[in-house]
């Protein structure tokens, strides 16, 4: 259990049998009154948000959350299959849950999946993954300016902004947290 004084942005609490994450938090005290904590919470399953005010003496349950190491195996087309590193149990994750992350999945990537009572909530990919450029307009010869960018397509169809001197077939590093180009790994 948490006390109200433990509440802060980012903390995960269980309310009415659902896991919620605090996305906004503010201390607040009406004139001559008691300290209160105003929060905005996001449901970790549905993504819905709500506002809640907590009292100093309120107690807050910790949701049963567990992060497990998993390896990405393959896609069935609709779902994405991961294998638990210790039990080898397979988990099928929907594209909806992954969102843009589907573009950054590479076979055998070491991932983490966060579960709430065995329900997968979110997948954390390796911070950097390597991807090959499928298509991009050729850059002008000798143009080494790094602050001008152009679009480039990955094999998954995802479009990323890259420096002008990157060419088709080049392998680049992408930051999966932002989905942005990080550096070139090798020339194609």
């Amino acid at each position: 259990m948490y006390n109200s004084s433990d509440l802060r942005k980012g903390l995960k609490v269980e309310i009415d049998g659902q896991p919620w994450q605090i996305v906004e938090f503010d201390f607040c005290k009406p004139g001559k009154g008691l300290a209160l904590y105003r929060t905005k919470l996001k449901n970790m399953i549905t993504g819905n948000t709500m506002e809640r005010t907590f009292r100093p003496n309120d107690r807050h349950a910790k949701p049963q959350l567990e992060e497990r190491d998993q390896t990405y195996l393959y896609s069935t087309g609709e779902e994405y299959v991961f294998s638990d590193n210790s039990t080898f149990e397979e988990t099928y994750i929907s594209g909806d849950l992954l969102g843009d992350q589907v573009h950054f999945l590479v076979e055998n990537a070491a991932c983490k999946i966060l579960y709430y009572n065995d329900l997968p909530l979110e997948v954390t990919l390796p911070i950097f993954i390597d991807k090959t450029i499928q298509y991009t307009e050729p850059g002008a010869k000798g143009d080494t300016a790094t602050n001008t960018l152009k679009p480039a397509a990955l094999d998954s169809g995802y479009e990323v902004q890259v420096p002008l001197w990157i060419n088709e077939g080049d392998v680049i590093k992408i930051d999966t947290r932002t989905g942005e180009y990080s550096e070139r790994v090798r020339k194609g």
């Binding site: 503010d26 201390f27 607040c28 005290k29 009406p30 004139g31 001559k32 009154g33 008691l34 300290a35 209160l36 105003r38 005010t53 009292r55």
Partner: protein, 293 residues
């Protein structure tokens, strides 16, 4: 000019206009001790220690002693300190404007406050001038609870839910489109206000709101020494019960009341919040020169 420089200028202008207005109304600026032997005894306000003394949580008791001693209209603009208060609308160190007027009550203070806010908003030519110049909504606490909650204000006090409902259900509706004066608090929440002579259920206290933000707290001051002593003792026992440090009774202040004090009206205005309201920000940090210190 950078944003920071603009906010410094706004604060300077607000100070200047506050002083200009109150000076023109015959108020005398005073300075009372910032480091005090005894902090005001209130249920939920904690003082920060300064050596074996304390930093003031408000200049209220000293200023009332000046009124008792014969000052008629006084004001003070300066820092106050409250332990453990930090958030988008709170800092442990903050700037307070207090003014007191002898032979006046909370309605007189309301007229003065309206004059002050109109003057400051016009002088700064903020677009909120129309907001401050409009007719203020005067809403009783009882009516606010009836309108926005499922229970009466008195029930809320009895259940210990008054502050919770105020913050969670009511405040967002206050000061929308025009300032709201939330007025006539249940006597249990009178703090240092006198009971209404017409209605003994309520105390003559009001708070000012703009866009859901509480800006000021005003009273017809309690000047009855016996009742003041009883309320201090009640607060002391509330604090002891809640495990908070219990400050001694301020006998110098009680002595002043015993010697006889005229009916007095007074108000405390959070100046940082006034600047928030004038500068259109919802974060007190935007009004401070050093928001992280």
């Amino acid at each position: 000019m950078s944003v920071r420089a603009e906010s410094l200028q706004l604060r300077a202008s607000v100070y200047r206009e506050i002083r200009g207005y109150l000076d023109s109304q015959g108020f005398c600026e005073v300075s009372t001790p910032v480091r005090v032997r005894i902090p005001a005894l209130e249920d939920t306000i904690d003082a920060i220690p300064a050596g074996s003394w304390w930093l003031r949580t408000s200049p209220e008791l000293h200023m009332k002693r000046l009124i008792q001693a014969g000052a008629e209209r006084i004001y003070q603009l300066g820092p106050c300190f409250r332990a453990g208060e930090h958030g988008r609308r709170h800092r442990s160190e903050f700037c307070m404007l207090e003014f007191y007027e002898g032979n006046a009550d909370y309605r007189d203070i309301l007229r003065r406050t309206q004059g002050l806010f109109r003057h400051v908003s016009r002088a700064l030519a903020v677009t909120e001038a129309a907001f401050w110049g409009s007719e203020w909504e005067v809403l009783t606490v009882e009516e606010a609870f009836r309108r926005y909650t499922h229970i009466s204000a008195v029930q809320a006090v009895e259940q210990g839910d008054f502050d919770y409902l105020l913050v969670d259900r009511i405040e967002r509706h206050l000061g929308v489109g025009r300032p709201t004066v939330l007025i006539d608090y249940p006597t249990k929440l009178a703090a240092l206000a006198r009971r209404s002579p017409q209605n003994p259920e309520v105390a003559e206290r009001w708070e000012l709101y703009a866009n859901g933000l509480e800006l000021a707290n005003a009273y017809s001051e309690l000047v009855d020494a016996g009742e003041q002593r009883a309320r201090f003792e009640e607060s002391a026992s509330t604090r002891a019960h809640a495990g908070h440090e219990v400050y001694p009774l301020d006998e110098a202040f009680l002595g002043a009341l015993e010697a006889g004090m005229p009916p007095t009206g007074g108000i405390a205005i959070g100046v940082d919040r006034l600047i928030m309201a004038m500068g259109k920000t919802d974060n007190i940090a935007d009004t401070l020169a050093f928001p992280r210190e």
